[in-house]
């Protein structure tokens, strides 16, 4: 069968069972857009290529399948650089096809030429420039294999226009052996001796904490983690990227650690004698000052990426492997040491007499300490009747009035931290956010991608007014494509997180952070984009507006919540400080502001 390069590319994507492409055509990618008309793959036409990238990410977050985006050369390709960097930081599987000028014109400063393989070298897991039409099926197979295996990540396939117009004899690699990846062999199974040492450390610890990160989600390992936590009775912190890996409703769940984590999660890690890091990477937002982080803790570090082990903190036991598989191995090792599965699922196991597990320290003093911290230092805010609307109140109402398995996407800033703190994540793959890169403007397009991936679920984006203005145009895409996402703007008229830092660390000198609450008019803007626009200014109006929004399923909804500009995110560990110096709440006399 003879195919053009363009047809071969689209057929290759079909062979990879791609169901949707987020993209925007242009000159260099034009030939590839022709066979899309005849393809079974849905194409969603975005309004800006950054939107395509974040939609692909949102889709990948909630489905576990690689998100696919397609853009043209030059500015089309550079516009998707930010989503690539975002996906690289958060290990999101994504395949981006970029058009390129003809091979004969490469290097001549041709119209819309950018050497995107060079630009994206450090922010992709790998990239390819196709120079031979016969390579297309193999390279597409390699691209999907690399994006989705090992530590997942974004890849770019750069596709010159003349290659698209050449013809080739169609084939499809029948196995991985036909790929040309001699240097790529991700290790998924942990070293048995190290796994045994990990189990021994876990059975010897008096103050252990499971430090669960986004890698567990990538590994589809939430169930394994649940068994590990409940069988051992070890409490769990879930990082920003790992929210939902372990249900917030479970008594062993301590919630989010880190710079804006809750007191108990932060302090339990600080005081622990054993941290079991599973698919987490000791990010600076989690550790605070590294030299003062969890000083008495031994470290078990499980990661599929060998370069993570020892990058920040040298582990006592380092295990390279897939989180789900390694947790399974640890569970087996625990069984062998006398801590087998409990008679009922989700209960603590009873150690077999005469085994290592039988002499295990009693964890109840540690768990009592954790409970005491939780009681003494809960998350707090004060919604005064008739007073300014508190963002936390909005989030609690939104949480309580929406289905339990609602997917929440967020932007970056104060609203992101409040969303992570106040939502109750009881299911994996219900939290979509930009963790490592901290990309403002992520929420709207990511929510759209998530809704495309899971049309059966309610999808709320929790956004800030600053973030919303960066990518709001994608609501036009959502209206046109009938993707009914819901957007809650926590509009405090400021770049709130920057404002918070200027208030606390720059003597209240507010430099370039004021945005205005009503310029733009968010309701009119929403309506102009084909959405329903609502405005909420007081606490009484919150519930009726959310109820109305949850009842709309034929178009997007935007609610402009006018929230208190003075509210700050607490707890807070100032940048560069030890986690011991956590600030629980506003100083005396500051609380009413």
């Amino acid at each position: 069968m003879k195919l053009t390069g363009a047809q071969a590319l689209i057929k290759s994507l079909e062979m990879q069972k791609v169901e949707v492409i987020f993209g925007l055509p242009g000159g260099a990618i034009l030939p590839v857009y022709d066979p899309i008309i005849d393809s079974s793959i849905r194409h969603i036409l975005v309004r800006h290529e950054q939107g395509a990238g974040h939609m692909a990410e949102g889709y990948a977050h909630v489905t576990g399948r690689p998100g696919v985006a397609m853009v043209t050369s030059g500015p089309g390709a550079t516009n998707i650089v930010t989503p690539l960097a975002d996906a690289m930081m958060d290990s999101i599987p994504m395949v981006v096809i970029t058009g390129q000028v003809p091979t004969t014109a490469i290097g001549t400063d041709a119209f819309q030429e950018v050497a995107i393989t060079g630009v994206t070298m450090d922010i992709t897991k790998h990239n390819w420039l196709i120079t031979d039409v016969n390579d297309i099926p193999r390279v597409v197979s390699e691209a999907f294999h690399v994006a989705t295996t090992g530590r997942p990540g974004p890849v770019v396939v750069d596709f010159p226009k003349d290659i698209a117009n050449q013809t080739m004899d169609w084939y499809w690699p029948s196995s991985l052996d036909e790929l040309d990846l001699p240097g790529y062999h991700p290790q998924t199974t942990g070293d048995t001796a190290e796994v045994r040492r990990a189990a021994e450390l876990m059975l010897a610890a008096e103050r252990p904490v499971l430090y669960a990160g986004g890698g567990i989600l990538k590994a589809r390992g939430a169930e394994a983690l649940f068994e590990l936590a409940t069988r051992t009775g070890i409490p769990v912190v879930t990082t920003l990227m790992g929210r939902g890996t372990f249900p917030d409703s479970h008594p062993l769940c301590l919630g989010m650690p880190g710079m804006h984590g809750n007191y108990t999660a932060v302090t339990a890690m600080q005081k622990s004698d054993l941290l079991i890091a599973l698919g987490s990477r000791f990010d600076d937002r989690v550790t605070g000052k590294v030299s003062a982080f969890a000083p008495e803790a031994k470290i078990i570090h499980v990661d599929i990426d060998p370069a993570e082990l020892g990058k920040v903190r040298r582990p006592d036991v380092g295990i390279v492997g897939d989180a789900r598989i390694v947790i399974g191995q640890i569970l087996e090792a625990l069984s062998a040491s006398g801590l087998g599965a409990a008679p009922s699922h989700g209960a603590a196991a009873v150690p077999a007499p005469g085994t290592l597990a039988a002499s295990r320290p009693d964890l109840s003093p540690w768990l009592a300490q954790v409970r005491a911290w939780q009681e003494e230092f809960p998350l707090t805010y004060n919604q005064v009747e008739g007073g300014a609307l508190k963002p936390q109140y909005v989030l609690e109402q939104l949480r309580d009035m929406s289905p339990e398995d609602t997917i929440v996407a967020s932007g970056v800033g104060q609203h992101q931290m409040w969303a992570s703190q106040y939502w109750r994540f009881n299911h994996p793959y219900t939290w979509v956010n930009s963790g490592g890169a901290g990309t403002m403007g992520f929420a709207v397009p990511a929510a759209i991608g998530a809704k495309v991936g899971r049309p059966d679920k309610t999808v709320w984006a929790v956004d800030g007014d600053g973030c919303f203005q960066m990518t709001a145009q994608e609501l036009v895409t959502a209206s046109a494509e009938r993707i009914p996402v819901k957007i809650a703007i926590l509009n405090n008229a400021y770049l709130g997180m920057v404002r918070q830092w200027q208030e606390l660390f720059y003597a209240e000198r507010y430099s370039e952070v004021y945005l205005s609450p009503d310029l733009p008019d968010y309701v009119k803007w929403a309506e102009a984009m084909g959405c329903v626009g609502l405005k909420v200014e007081s606490a009484e109006e919150v519930a009726p507006a959310i109820e109305k929004a949850n009842g709309i399923d034929d178009r997007p909804v935007v609610i402009d919540f006018r929230t208190d500009a003075f509210e700050k995110v607490y707890p807070m560990v100032p940048a560069g400080s030890s986690n011991d110096d956590i600030i629980v709440g506003p100083a005396e006399g500051d609380g009413g502001r």
């Binding site: 040309d180 990846l181 240097g183 082990l309 380092g318």
Partner: protein, 185 residues
């Protein structure tokens, strides 16, 4: 570019990287050093006995602990097949030098004498200059370079070193980074 006449400092590391022989691979490798601000001291790249693979030999000035991280990240590159770090004492290293040296009739005999002592070769002769070639260990090349410098070096080019593990190694500092867990030292 004026490289210091020093090739065997304490912080020197020799990294031997087996890579796919494809376009852009060298840029990917070099980028991991560049993003941290480390200068590559010398670099040699050539195909191996397998035409699909090339070997990159890099000498870099860097502390051991960031280097370990760089090596792990290099190993993550899709096109990198294997990496070895070679301690200088465990490596057989060779480098080649080409130098055009001023050699007036009165000096010429001395320069030719030095070339002979170092087992180099005269590869080109002009009226006032000669071009010499010398292959050997980096320290031997350093010595030769220092000794001919007073006669007047017109142009000098070194290849950068290539290295293979010594066959009889005393320490165990040769290690593959591929897929391994960190040594718990």
């Amino acid at each position: 570019m004026t490289p210091p006449a020093r090739t065997s400092g304490a912080r020197h590391h020799i990294v031997s990287i087996l890579v796919e022989n494809k376009a852009g691979v060298l840029a990917r490798v070099a980028s991991l050093f560049a993003r941290r601000g480390y200068n590559i001291y010398s670099l040699a790249v050539a195909p191996t006995d397998d035409v699909k693979l090339s070997r990159i030999t890099i000498v870099v000035d860097v502390e051991s602990s960031p280097l370990e991280q760089i090596l792990r990240q290099l190993d993550k590159l899709i096109n990198v097949v294997d990496i070895f770090e070679l301690a200088p004492e465990d490596a057989t290293e060779r480098e080649m030098l080409l130098a055009t040296v001023s050699a007036t009739p009165e000096d010429r005999g001395q320069v030719i004498g030095l070339v002979g002592v170092f087992e180099g070769k005269i590869v080109d002769v002009g009226r006032e200059r000669i071009t010499v070639m010398l292959a050997g260990s980096p320290s031997k090349i350093d010595d030769f370079e220092n000794l001919i410098r007073p006669y007047g070096i017109v142009e000098l080019q070194r290849t950068g070193r290539v290295a293979l593990p010594k066959l009889e190694r005393r320490s165990s500092r040769l290690r593959s980074v591929a897929g391994g867990s960190p040594d718990p030292a």
